[in-house]
């Protein structure tokens, strides 16, 4: 097992309408044979050795989330290959399986099962999950009584309790209060110390330099550069400022 995660010339495009089609529109589309598509990733290749950490940088719509989603296996590439060795847990949209009418404890169990934990593992880690979230007695209240931050904390606690080999993060630690953000950061660091692989998308230079040894810059679905976080961030910031001044000059 030489690599934890490998993207080999991966491309992905989406159709523009996003799928909300009624029968009539579908027939029209079939008749016209026209399918305008949006190219989200173009020939993206990178490799992550076990224990390595990589940050994805780039502006909105550059393909960071698409890359993360493909690494989870939720999204398949149009072309190219993705190789994954180990259990992947994604901290993308936290609490995707949460339901407002269920209590915190019930949501923890449902989510743990969805993340692939067994009954025994869930029972064994339950107290630890609740403890880490800092929810306290609220754990037996319906989730709708929680603040956004509390729900996030609970979701983060369940997701990290699933003991992944590869952790995918999409800027979740940005929300929540600073005390909890600190604990999340500490948790991620302890993952790194345990030799887990990390792939994260972030806009925060501090976070990137703190957590990652390498950064990958994506622009319109293409890899612009890959290297040490400092250099990549400089190049990226220069380019975005450059384009901002160009568009400012043009108007």
């Amino acid at each position: 097992m030489s690599v934890a995660l490998r993207f080999d010339r991966v491309s992905k495009s989406f159709s523009h309408h996003g799928g909300r089609m009624l029968l009539r529109e579908r027939l029209v589309e079939l008749a016209r044979h026209s399918r305008p598509r949006f190219q989200a990733l173009k020939n993206v290749s990178f490799e992550l050795a076990p224990g390595e950490s990589l940050a994805l940088v780039g502006c909105n719509g550059a393909g960071k989330s698409t890359t993360l989603n493909m690494a989870t296996g939720l999204l398949l590439p149009d072309s190219g290959k993705i190789e994954v060795n180990g259990r992947v847990t994604a901290l993308l949209e936290l609490g995707a399986g949460f339901h407002p009418d269920l209590t915190g404890a019930e949501n923890v169990r449902v989510n743990a099962a969805l993340l692939g934990l067994t009954r025994r593992q869930t029972n064994a880690r339950f107290d630890e999950i609740v403890e880490f979230s800092g929810i306290g007695d609220f754990i037996n209240e319906p989730l709708r009584t929680y603040s956004t931050g509390m729900a996030m904390r609970l979701a983060f606690s369940v997701a990290t309790a699933s003991d992944p080999d590869i952790l995918l993060i999409d800027e979740v630690i940005a929300s929540g209060d600073s005390a909890f953000a600190e604990r999340c950061l500490e948790k991620i660091r302890s993952f790194q110390r345990d030799g887990k692989t990390l792939l994260m998308a972030s806009h925060s230079p501090t976070l990137i330099t703190m957590l990652c040894r390498r950064a990958l810059w994506l622009h319109h679905g293409q890899v612009m550069a890959c290297g040490a976080p400092g250099e990549i961030l400089d190049a990226y910031q220069e380019a975005t400022q450059g384009s901002a001044s160009v568009s400012a000059g043009g108007s």
Partner: protein, 258 residues
């Protein structure tokens, strides 16, 4: 998950998903699971009154029980196929964000309806006992026919839920079909009253087949005939095969379409 193996515990996963549906449905209702009993009881009362008293003619023995033997399979079918069809679209956050095999979603939604089913079957058995019908060896067929029937509905739900992602009108087609089904399943009339030339068509309707099996077991006190069991087995096998085939062809496009 697409192509990648789910390493978790399916039993634990299904238990949790079924419990979740059950809790969500009843937590905010003051009458709770009584609703599961009330609906078939009211329908049974109305149908017994209309077809037993208003519309003339000879009625089968134990008419309320006879009607309920038709209603319980019909209710399960309509409820399960409806939630099953919309399950993938309704659980979009789950399908888009949680790497769990997508087949789990429609199957769990059908199985969640089994909780109601158990309550309604309890009611059915209770009423049968109240009419003085004694349990016999043929009652052992009940779990068999129901397991086949649930498998049949799971297959349909798999296919319909996948198609509903692409053609959102599917749920309205299913809704209309359910209305139609009420009349073409022998709920308030008996199979013997169907003219010979249509009887053959009825035989191919698995919902009608289950109604007949229920009446065989509870009212006629005989095991369901072999031909009927063959029909149910065939229906379950075909529907599961077709359902899985359609679902696995379409599931890779779900992410983009919901």
């Amino acid at each position: 998950m697409n192509g990648r193996r789910f390493q978790g515990d399916y039993f634990f996963l299904f238990t949790n998903l079924i419990l979740k549906d059950f809790k969500i449905r009843y937590r905010n209702m003051s009458l709770g699971i009584l609703w599961s009993l009330l609906n078939p009881l009211v329908m049974m009362g109305v149908l017994t009154f209309v077809f037993g008293r208003v519309v003339g003619g000879e009625r089968p023995q134990y008419f309320p029980l006879f009607v309920l033997c038709g209603l319980v399979p019909y209710n399960f079918f309509t409820g399960a196929i409806m939630t099953g069809t919309t399950s993938i679209v309704d659980n979009a956050p789950l399908v888009k964000r949680v790497p769990v095999p997508r087949e789990v979603v429609p199957v769990a939604s059908v199985l969640s309806n089994c909780v109601h089913l158990m309550i309604q079957l309890g009611l059915l058995v209770g009423i049968a006992l109240a009419f003085g019908i004694r349990p016999g060896a043929q009652w052992l067929w009940l779990p068999v026919v129901w397991a086949l029937y649930v498998a049949f509905v799971c297959g349909l739900a798999l296919g319909a839920s996948a198609i509903n992602v692409f053609v959102r009108d599917t749920r309205y087609v299913v809704e209309s079909f359910n209305l139609l089904l009420f009349w073409v399943v022998p709920i308030f009339y008996s199979f013997s009253s169907i003219p010979q030339k249509y009887a053959a068509i009825y035989r191919f309707n698995p919902v009608a087949a289950l109604v007949l099996a229920m009446r065989n077991i509870l009212l006629d006190r005989t095991p369901p005939p072999t031909s009927l069991m063959m029909n149910l087995v065939l229906a379950a096998a075909l529907s599961l095969a077709a359902g899985f085939a359609i679902f696995s062809q379409l599931k890779m496009y779900f992410y983009e379409r919901i």
